[in-house]
């Protein structure tokens, strides 16, 4: 069934690309760069705007943005297209697809290669460390181009905190403080749900590991080899899951679904404390009919007093290859990438979308424009991302089939929340099942 879709998709792409080719000839002289992305609605408009600005700013290259669906759909489409020799020049790939793209060998042209061949200068040092690290090889060369990045934060309903007798000016900073706040909220019936979380594997496991400088997997979280194994059944993780299970049991935490499905639970005022992506800011501004604030993720004071940087979510841009692609086209890709990394562009993207600026200069530019004075709290994610020094544990993840690893975390945590197993058993299962997935990926991708 899937195969049928892939083939049909590839065939459709073939026709599409041919139509585009003839269109390209009509516009004599300009190299065409096809850019597949997964940004919908307002973000789609923003991508179109950037591409239009680039096309208007110079005459040699024309970038054509194409919306391809969700992140996993874009990944599948890009793979099918490459197999059919019709890959786009540039594709937006979510951060957990990074491991798969790095194993793609000749299908991609990594950013450092692109820079070397095209002669267009792109300085990796311009990027925020936690952003750069996720998309770099172990030796620091950029594999893909940072694009839309977010991190996760704690969103709080200030009205509910006040009803519970808490001071919104001093949001909880540690897990014991979060638990105490949630208990106060429940005791005073300040909100139907005291505390909830979106993206459980990303926020409560991956971010937790990075901030507390704990290894998530061996071989530097997979950066140093495919023969990596998960380490998430270690005591600090068990304690973290156990803490959430106890909160669920005493009614101060409620599980409200996978991925972003808990979003409306915060907007609607149902939940007082919500762990979610920093990229939700625009939606919260639009939907929340109460006072709210954005705070850093809480840490466990028994593990550290000084949490380091959190990791990013979001996506990066990969350059893909196809038969008959010319150096002029690759150069066009590089020019586009260097264009969007300009401080003014980066700051504009950050302020219009709610993603963090990916360059330090973009952050400085936003500061200079007074963006954070007008939008208090909007710099919380950036401060959290740039806190401390990036270590091998906080650089990010280089694990194959990471979407499946996250699914496994969801499944085992959901079973634990139903009381079918304890925290230790759940995480043991995650490790056992996850390692099977990692071994399968290793066998399929051995050179």
């Amino acid at each position: 069934m899937k195969r049928r879709t892939l083939i049909a998709g590839a065939a459709a792409l073939g026709f599409h690309a041919r139509a585009q080719d003839s269109h390209a000839q009509a516009q004599a002289g300009r190299a065409r760069v096809v850019f597949w992305h997964a940004m919908n609605s307002a973000l789609n408009d923003e991508v179109n705007r950037i591409c239009a600005a680039f096309n208007a700013a110079q005459k040699d290259v024309e970038v054509v943005p194409v919306f391809k669906g969700t992140y996993p759909e874009t990944l599948t489409a890009a793979i099918a297209a490459w197999r059919a020799g019709q890959a786009p020049h540039l594709v937006q790939m979510y951060e957990v697809g990074t491991g798969s793209m790095l194993a793609a060998g000749p299908a991609v042209k990594q950013t450092w290669q692109l820079i070397g061949e095209s002669g267009v200068a792109i300085d990796p040092a311009a990027y925020i460390g936690a952003v750069r690290g996720y998309y770099s090889l172990p030796d620091g060369r950029l594999a893909s181009m940072p694009f839309n990045s977010s991190t996760s934060v704690m969103w709080l309903n200030a009205d509910a905190l006040e009803r519970a007798g808490l001071d919104p000016a001093k949001p909880p900073a540690t897990w014991p403080e979060v638990i105490a706040a949630a208990q106060a909220i429940r005791a005073k019936f300040a909100a139907p749900t005291a505390c909830t979380t979106a993206w459980f594997p990303w926020i409560q496991m991956e971010q937790f590991a990075a901030m507390h400088d704990l290894p998530f997997a061996t071989k530097a979280n997979g950066f140093e080899g495919l023969d990596t194994a998960l380490l998430v059944n270690a005591p600090p993780f068990v304690k973290q899951l156990d803490r959430i299970l106890s909160m669920a049991k005493e009614g101060t935490f409620r599980y409200t679904g996978r991925d972003n499905s808990p979003d409306p639970v915060f907007y609607s005022g149902e939940a007082a404390i919500s762990f979610n992506s920093s990229g939700g800011r625009a939606d919260i501004v639009k939907n929340a009919k109460f006072r709210w604030l954005e705070a850093p993720l809480p840490y466990d004071p028994e593990l550290t007093q000084a949490p380091i940087n959190s990791i990013i979510g979001g996506a990066s841009l990969w350059t893909m290859t196809a038969p008959g692609r010319t150096p002029a086209e690759y150069k066009g890709v590089a020019q586009f990438l260097s264009f969007i990394a300009q401080p003014a562009r980066d700051a504009e993207w950050h302020q219009n979308t709610g993603y963090v600026p990916v360059t330090l200069a973009g952050y400085e530019e936003s500061k200079r424009q007074g963006y954070y004075d007008k939008n208090p709290g909007a710099d919380v994610p950036i401060k959290q991302l740039t806190r401390g020094t990036v270590t091998p544990n906080s650089r990010g993840f280089r694990l194959g089939r990471m979407p499946e690893l996250r699914n496994i975390v969801y499944e085992e945590v959901e079973r634990a929340l139903q009381g079918q197993q304890g925290a230790q058993a759940a995480l043991d299962n995650v490790v056992n099942r996850g390692n099977r997935v990692l071994r399968e990926f290793e066998r399929a991708n051995r050179a």
Binding site: M1, K2, R3, R4, L6, I7, A8, P72, L75, T76, I79, W82, R83, S100, A103, A104, G105, P106, A107, Y255, T256, G257, R258, S261, P264, V265, S268, E270, R401, P403, E404, N407, Y410, E411, E412, E414, R415, L417, Q418, Q420, V437, E440, R443, A444, N445, R446, A447
Partner: protein, 293 residues
């Protein structure tokens, strides 16, 4: 006496059949052949490294307790959907078959859900059943019933069964209604004269005469439940909580499209294909017998 029209020449029939043959070859034979080849190989997502592994993907699958659990779950899921949708459809058909005012309007309304796309149907059910947003979901929670299908296995299963069965009721209804109308009035009238009451008349006269329809619909419903419910399940629960609603098609999608494990996903597709072929063969036999009646 059977009447036949025979066209001269070969070109015209070949020409007329060609589009269908080409479509079948391009959209079925070729991909199915590829799936069979992939199921015997281990390959990375981009197809850079391919290794022939024979039946290893199949033996891995059959040895995997998660796959066996998923197969068992799918059987339960299919049985529940077939029972629910056929039961409700039969009940509705029996009532719609009576002489009541506005019969045509009821019948049309009952057929509507069939026209709704699976994902849209799922959204409708979310709006009804979501524990925080849904009308019924909120009502249940206010009245002390801990309703949360995203975190309770049994509730999640009943939600996907309900949503999937609801969509199939229309189809079953049409066939049951046609079946009921094909039962000669004289037979039921005669039973009535002999003093057989409603339920007895239904059990001893209507149901046996409806048996071919029941058998046909059973096969169709099983095929529907096993293969056409992907959209509904994916949009409602995505296979969760845990693996509580992960049926075999959901697993094929997850392993193939999300996980990019083409070998295992193709092996699962091939096993499913064998199951469809078996069910279709059964369906043809049932249909054939029905025509012979």
């Amino acid at each position: 006496m059977e009447r036949r029209t025979i066209f001269p020449g070969r070109l015209l029939p070949v020409l007329l059949a060609a589009p269908q043959i080409v479509l079948t070859a391009v959209f079925f034979l070729w991909p199915a052949g590829q799936a069979m080849w992939f199921s015997a190989a281990r390959q990375d997502a981009f197809g850079l490294r391919t290794e022939f592994v024979g039946f290893e993907n199949f033996s891995d699958l059959l040895a995997d307790p998660l796959y066996r659990e998923s197969a068992g779950r799918t059987a339960l899921f299919c049985a529940a959907i077939a029972a629910l949708s056929m039961g409700v459809a039969l009940l509705l058909a029996v009532f719609a078959d009576r002489d009541i005012r506005g019969r045509a309007a009821y019948r049309t309304l009952l057929i509507w859900p069939y026209a709704i796309a699976p994902a849209v149907a799922a959204v409708l059910w979310i709006l009804v059943l979501h524990p925080q947003v849904g009308l019924l979901g909120r009502w249940l929670n206010r009245h002390g019933i801990a309703w949360d299908y995203r975190l309770r296995d049994a509730q999640a299963m009943s939600v996907v069964v309900l949503a999937s069965a609801w969509k199939q009721v229309s189809y079953d209804f049409i066939f049951f209604l046609a079946g009921l109308q094909a039962i000669p009035r004289t037979v039921t009238e005669a039973a009535r004269m002999d003093g057989a009451r409603g339920w007895r008349r239904f059990r001893t006269i209507t149901l046996p005469l409806l048996a071919p329809t029941v058998l046909f619909l059973l096969v169709v419903n099983l095929v529907y439940a096993a293969f056409d419910t992907f959209g509904t399940v994916q949009a409602l629960t995505g296979g969760g909580p845990g693996k509580a609603t992960e049926t075999l098609v959901v697993k094929v999608y997850r392993d193939g499209v999300v996980n990019l494990d083409l070998g295992s996903s193709s092996a699962q597709s091939v096993l499913l294909m064998a199951a469809v072929i078996a069910l279709t063969a059964l369906q043809f036999r049932v249909l054939g017998r029905r025509r012979a009646d």
